[in-house]
Symmetry: C2
Subunit: 278 residues, 2 copies
């Protein structure tokens, strides 16, 4: 049995599976593949979101740079991320007192807890509060304003429900939900195969925040195997700060490190060129 994800109309990844489970939620079709190469794989509407083999590459690079950049992150909001991988990484930081997870599709959480016990292992931690809500509407609520230290946009690709999460209006709400020293980090697609989405996201983030930086990392199960992340703040100039080394201790990472952090923004020239074009 082979599952193929078409990254574009003209290229895809094909993965051999022992078993494919299909779940239909209110929002999307959820597949759980049991594969030989990537272990269990979570697929939403045909697109790979999480695999046991490489989830650490994505979640570590999405979560830790923002959390070490913030002087004292206590309150974290994750929008999307129903698999629980970002929650798991965020809770590794001792300063974190509460993690709010805002996932539109409860079925993703249920599926992850059933089939991905390690990735979802921290979803029921007492510090975690789960909101089954549209992230865009969640940020309209009065209690969200000026509340969070770090907001993590762990969205799926900018189609259907997730499209709004790549708009300027949405990033403005994110900014308004951050308190002093607040930082937003967003996954911003492949800078190789999804350059238009990437540029759109970076352009809109730049319009809203004072400081914006882009970095990249490997995720072999995602389009092109190279992924982009955009970090932004009105307070933190990422090029100037030097986080204390103690912030990197006990993170138990398999990808991220203090050395990697210090080189985070040394990105390939073609990515810089794309950013200069937005």
């Amino acid at each position: 049995m082979w599952f193929t994800e078409y990254w574009t109309q003209n290229v895809g990844i094909t993965i051999k599976a022992k078993e494919i489970k299909r779940i239909k939620s209110k929002y999307q079709e959820i597949l759980v593949l049991d594969t030989y190469e990537f272990g269990k794989v979570l697929v939403l509407d045909g697109l790979i979101q999480t695999t046991e083999k490489d989830e650490f590459m994505y979640h570590e690079m999405l979560v830790h740079p923002a959390l070490v950049s913030h002087p004292n992150p206590e309150r974290v909001l994750i929008i999307g991320g129903g698999d629980g991988g970002s929650v798991k990484e965020a809770l590794k930081h001792k300063s974190v007192k509460e993690v709010h997870l805002c996932e539109i599709d409860e079925e993703v959480i249920i599926t992850s807890e059933k089939y991905f016990p390690e990735i979802s292992s921290k979803l029921r931690d007492p510090k975690v509060k789960i909101f089954i809500e549209d992230g865009n509407k969640f940020l309209d609520e009065e209690e969200s304003k000026n509340y969070y230290d770090v907001i993590i946009i762990d969205s799926s690709d900018p189609v259907s429900e997730s499209e709004v999460l790549f708009q300027e209006q949405f990033y403005k709400k994110v900014r308004n939900s951050l308190r002093e020293n607040g930082i937003m980090i967003a996954q911003t697609e492949s800078p190789i195969l999804q350059q238009e989405y990437f540029k759109k996201a970076v352009k809109n983030i730049k319009k809203v925040f004072k400081y914006t930086q882009v970095y990249v990392g490997s995720v072999p199960s995602y389009p092109s195997g190279t992924w982009s992340y955009t970090i932004a703040s009105d307070y933190i100039d990422f090029l100037k700060i030097k986080p204390d080394l103690s912030k990197f201790e006990n993170l138990n990472t398999k990808y991220f490190s203090d050395k990697l952090y210090s080189c985070l923004f040394s990105i390939p020239e073609f990515v810089k060129k794309l950013i200069s074009e937005v």
Copy 2:
């Protein structure tokens, strides 16, 4: 028409092609695909070697780190690399007086000159001398001894004719063919999907050279999209040198830069762990 390369038995990349040309050489089957996503694609025995879209990522990262690390590279040997991409990058360095290309399969050169005119554009440069020979035997010749400043192992995957290029005996010959300050750089496969090949190459290189370092870069058409390169020398301690900035001028790169070079060895933790296991 779809062309699929199986990266392992359990995962592959599938690419839509307008046209597929087949050429049978003495050593291998050569395909030239005309694709929508990657432009023209050169395939040897079923494995993608070069694509118009991303060849710069591979060739720049293979060639430039070694050439800027050497104080004054004049004589360069490329083993493999019949497409000409490494020759093109090497000749961007003003100090280079001669480039020897040792390619076992003349048909690769002929095919590249016919279908990849830009990538192969420097193969007939007066500084270039082409040897149609087995790289392993070429290094046995007396004239090769103690001759080169930089030797670039631009091999295909370690199967059939290329397998010997991953052996300790071969790296010893490389070392003996380098003169003072000499540097070897080798492509060493995917650290994600070809970990055994990667570890074997690094292990053997470490046995032979005093200084060995590994770095990684993106190549979306190669297995996992993340590629490893191993650089080695008996003279140059890569962690201590700081090449003059003038060496980075006029390279006209789309991936490599001085900033990237200064962060070259800040690699993901899982790659460091693999290296520690060899």
